[in-house]
């Protein structure tokens, strides 16, 4: 059943490409139907998984290239189900927040659905070759979504994103080929490769190579620079997808491929320098730097969207930190943070890029300050207040549970990481507060310049309300009752820690 999320998305993309050009409404509704169908499938499978105690279940297993042991193998465990659910949510919300796209509408949704199909594919693949294929399929639509429909420096942002992604995937491909060759070239299945017994010396270089390759897409410092420029250049729906699911592709790859297949690569080197004695320490330090650095840079931005862009780098740092804690609570928190950040960042980008920018035509905080948006766009203001609270990690929202777990996990592993990451949380409160205050609740006197442009802002439309409610409901549901997802994540993490993929 879950495999149909992939097929539906790709078929939808193909149909969209063939739809007549001058019927934007048709293209929108069709995309919405496809996205909702995907979400429904994800929800049904999640419910079905719950009755099954979230055991790993094989969905499809067909020999693909028989001579080389490559299988078309789709399977899902609890982690996959959670991220698939996130993809479904992001897809529906993305379509809703692109309701105003009038330029080449059918092509926009064709690329959009192709991207979604690739993302579903990555999350469901249990064969490394297949996973890689889907991973690369997701790169090209991103480029066109940004380059054609984007804004600020879109061609630059799009090309930077495409090249960063491709360099990352090139590193993964080298790792894939090397692991495949040295395991004897019998299979590219994740399970088989994990049991191939690759020598520790080999895992020692394969792990950092593949982890870095994936982490580039997860926005790991210092390879994060594509993220802010890409997010800012992208049209709203693409920013939502980039922050919401594409960065998760990277984190998911780190977990599913790098950590599961090359666990010995995390072993201590036997010597240490400044307290760094293994690749695990290296990546933890990079993650912590990302958390603090992203938050500090977000504090200094003048462009509203850049604030959110850098906050993504900061929040994704928590995911990476959680992954390298290598303990149950930290890794569970990392997966939960993937979901949480996906939903919250989507919401923030939607408010900034769609609800506010499409009406005010500026994202400069200095200009927004003079517009009194809290009075003129009360819906946007209160939505941002709530989303900001979720983003800060206030109790009651999903971010709180996730980041708390990551911090507890990293305290167990190394208290210094938690202390430093805690600084990031404090700064996180500051930048969210600053943006909120400047954009919506500033009482700066409106200048004469604004009075000239003081036309009525367009009313909020139903797709915007629906999308906001959907994403907000998701973060609130998980925040209030985290067991909803934890029940799915915990067994999968436990299996993973107990000895790689099974």
């Amino acid at each position: 059943m879950l495999a149909w999320t992939i097929y539906l998305s790709f078929a939808g993309a193909l149909v969209e490409a063939l739809l007549p050009k001058n019927r934007p409404a048709l293209a929108r509704w069709f995309a919405l139907v496809v996205a909702v169908a995907g979400l429904a499938l994800a929800l049904l499978s999640f419910a079905a998984g719950a009755t099954n105690h979230f055991q790993r279940s094989v969905i499809v297993d067909v020999p693909w290239v028989s001579g080389m042991g490559i299988h078309y193998l789709l399977a899902a465990d609890g982690i996959s189900l959670v991220v698939v659910l996130l993809t479904g949510l992001a897809a529906v919300a993305g379509v809703l927040f692109s309701w105003n796209i009038d330029l080449r509408t059918n092509e926009f949704f064709a690329f959009f659905l192709a991207l979604i199909g690739g993302v579903y594919g990555v999350f469901l693949s249990y064969d490394l070759f297949l996973l890689f294929v889907f991973y690369e399929i997701a790169i090209v639509p991103k480029y066109f979504l940004i380059a054609i429909w984007g804004s600020t420096r879109r061609e630059y942002g799009a090309m930077k994103l495409a090249l960063y992604s491709f360099v990352g995937s090139a590193m993964v491909l080298i790792g894939l080929l090397a692991a495949y060759a040295s395991s004897g070239g019998h299979s590219t299945g994740l399970v088989e490769l994990a049991h191939a017994g690759l020598p520790a010396s080999e895992q020692m270089w394969l792990f950092p190579l593949v982890f870095t390759g994936f982490a580039i897409l997860a926005g790991m410092w210092p390879f994060h620079t594509w993220a802010p420029t890409g997010h800012v250049a992208a049209p709203t729906a693409a920013s939502m997808l980039l922050a919401g699911v594409v960065m998760k592709l990277g984190a998911y790859g780190c977990l599913r491929v790098a950590i599961s297949l090359f666990p010995r690569g995390l072993d201590p080197w036997g010597w240490s320098f400044l307290g760094i004695g293994s690749w695990r320490d290296v990546f933890a330090v990079l993650a912590v730097i990302g958390i603090v650095y992203g938050a500090l840079v977000a504090l200094a931005q003048t462009d509203f969207k850049f604030v959110i862009g850098y906050s993504s780098v900061s929040h994704m740092g928590f995911v990476l930190l959680g992954l390298v804690t290598l303990n149950q609570i930290g890794m569970t928190g990392a997966v939960l943070q993937m979901f949480s950040h996906g939903v919250i960042a989507g919401l923030l980008f939607a408010i900034v890029g769609r609800i506010v920018y499409e009406r005010t035509h500026t994202r400069q905080l200095a200009e927004l300050e003079t517009m009194h948006l809290s009075k003129r766009l009360p819906f946007a203001s209160w939505a941002f207040v709530l989303a900001g609270m979720a983003s800060m990690g206030l109790p009651g929202f999903s971010g709180f549970v996730a980041e708390l777990q990551v911090l507890v996990g990293s305290w167990v592993a190394k208290p210094a990481w938690t202390v430093t990451a805690g600084v990031g949380i404090v700064v996180g409160v500051a930048y969210t507060w600053r943006a909120l205050q400047k954009a919506f609740f500033s009482d700066a006197t409106p200048s004469a310049h604004v009075h000239e442009h003081g036309h009525e802002l367009a009313a909020i439309t139903w797709p915007e309300v629906a999308g906001t409610v959907l994403l907000f409901g998701a973060t609130l549901a998980v925040g209030l009752y985290p067991r909803l997802l934890l029940d799915a994540i915990e067994p999968a993490v436990k299996t993973l820690l107990a000895g790689g993929v099974r």
Partner: protein, 515 residues
């Protein structure tokens, strides 16, 4: 000498030559007064029929090939990789012939088709040849045809200029090749590939190793020219730019398949030296059938030469392509890069059929993709009069199908799954690592993958023009029917073969099994 046997082995070549003569007769005799498009259509169709006839007579060739009378020395092989390459050559020739129908660069369509067929016959000989002299004859037959084809747009100065450059470089490299061949003959006393390989392991050859190096470098220069490997690639950009599009497509596809088939023959001969001998003889020579580990003989030195060529080609091709503003030159430099990837597969050649299959898969699908790319370029050129990047601006608006095919073809060349170019690369690199899972092989594979990340940039430059930028001129581009069918076919083939790699791979492997 058994001429009957020789005739049976060369049946496909004969079919092509007969078709070439028929085309001349029909075009210059019967259709003299007809309109140009009728003549072009008739000539191209006759050419395609000739290719089909050559395919049809292939099964009538005797098994094993043609032997030099009285010895076990094969002159022309049949079956195996040779047959797979020959079928590929014939199919690609037919496709490039179809490109002629909608072209207007010449009035002499009969001569054009006849030359293509004769050059293709040269390609068939190269793919099957197992003897230095036969190899050289085949190469010259192919090359002479290519020089004329390059110059075929008589009204274009660029065409004449590029043909002269191509000819001068080609003549020089043929001289190098012959010089290298003469040294090989001098060291081993034979022109048969297998005997040469064996002779190089003999004690008296070991003392002549400096000569062997000279010979190998000369041969690498000669063949490197044919496959467009750097640093012997200087002709490529000019020829691809100046030649008429169908001729350029022929040079980029058929000529490459033939030359790489020859390199496969050389690699296979170097590996299978002792296949015909008993174990005792091999033991006497102190030979362990893993020439990778020995510094004796042909294999080790050849590997080193090819490694250098591969690395230089990947670097030069990809980095130079970054700076191009003409799409034809961009495709030309990317051809150098692709030659580098394939040479990597030849440098680490497997004892079993794995490498040969991967290389054939790569070069056949690459040929197919390139023919499609040149078809797109020629349509755009006819509509805009230029092959500059700007000429592709807003292509998606002017012709959505053309833009979509271009997208598929260029993404395939860049190695994006699920298109065929990705699988070709993966399969090739996996074959390389299968021979040597670490060390130099791994380093070069890493370089190749890093370089294909670079290549995405310049392919995206074209895609950006086609899909992102606004057109300077919004008039729709009409696709002529034959080109339309051809492009749709190639586009679908690139997607389908990429999604189901076993189709073509199984087909190629079937040939090897039958050998």
């Amino acid at each position: 000498m058994n001429y009957g046997e020789l005739f049976r082995v060369t049946l496909p070549e004969t079919a092509l030559e007969i078709a070439a003569l028929l085309v001349l007769v029909v075009d210059l005799g019967f259709l003299r007064k007809a309109a140009l498009n009728v003549r072009a259509g008739a000539a191209a169709l006759l050419g395609v029929v000739g290719c089909a006839a050559a395919l049809w007579v292939m099964p009538m060739q005797p098994m094993g090939g043609y032997f030099y009378p009285g010895t076990g020395e094969v002159l022309l092989a049949t079956g195996g990789t040779a047959a797979a390459a020959q079928i590929g050559i014939l199919a690609l020739t037919a496709l490039t012939l179809l490109l002629l129908i909608d072209s207007t660069f010449t009035k002499h369509v009969g001569e054009y088709v006849a030359l293509i067929l004769m050059a293709a016959a040269g390609g068939l000989i190269i793919a099957a040849a197992q003897d230095l002299l036969v190899i050289f004859i085949g190469l010259e037959l192919l090359s002479l045809g290519l020089y004329i084809l390059t110059a075929f747009a008589k009204r274009s100065g660029a065409s004449a200029e590029s043909a002269l450059k191509y000819y001068l470089f080609g003549g020089m490299s043929a001289a190098f090749l012959l010089f290298g061949f003469s040294y090989l003959y001098g060291i081993t006393g034979s022109t048969d590939l297998h005997r040469i390989m064996l002779g190089l392991y003999m004690p008296n050859a070991a003392t002549a190793s400096p000569l062997l190096y000279v010979a190998l470098v000369m041969i690498a220069a000669g063949l490197g020219f044919k496959v467009a490997a750097a640093p012997f690639h200087l002709w490529v950009a000019d020829t691809y730019e100046g030649a008429p599009a169908p001729a350029a497509a022929f040079i980029a596809s058929v000529s490459k398949v033939a030359s790489f088939a020859l390199l496969i023959s050389i690699g296979a001969a170097a590996w299978h030296i002792f296949d015909g001998m008993n174990g005792h003889a091999a033991l006497m020579l102190g030979f362990v059938p893993e020439p990778q580990n020995t510094w004796l003989g042909f294999h080790a030195s050849w590997t080193r030469v090819l490694m250098v060529l591969a690395a230089v080609s990947m670097l030069v091709g990809n980095l130079t392509a970054l700076a191009q503003i003409s799409v034809r030159r961009l495709v030309a430099y990317s051809a150098v890069a692709h030659a580098g990837y394939i040479l990597l597969g030849l440098a680490f050649f497997s004892y079993g059929p794995r490498s040969a299959e991967a290389i054939l898969y790569y070069v056949l699908t690459y040929g197919l993709t390139t023919v499609g790319a040149f078809a797109v370029i020629s349509v755009v050129e006819r509509a805009t009069g230029s092959d500059r990047l700007e000429a592709f601006s807003g292509l998606h608006k002017r012709s959505p199908l053309l833009a979509a095919v271009l997208l598929v073809l260029f993404l395939s060349l860049a190695g994006i799954p699920p298109l065929v170019g990705f699988w070709a690369k993966f399969n090739l690199f996996a074959a390389v690592l299968n021979v040597q899972p670490g060390g130099a092989a791994l380093g070069l594979v890493a370089l190749a993958i890093a370089m294909s990340a670079v290549s995405l940039f310049y392919y995206l430059q074209v895609m950006k023009r086609a899909y992102v930028l606004a057109p300077a001129d919004e008039t729709p581009i009409a696709l002529p029917p034959v080109t339309l069918v051809l492009l749709a076919f190639i586009g679908i083939a690139v997607v389908v073969l990429g999604c189901f790699p076993s189709l073509l791979q199984g087909w190629i492997a079937g040939f090897y099994g039958g050998m």
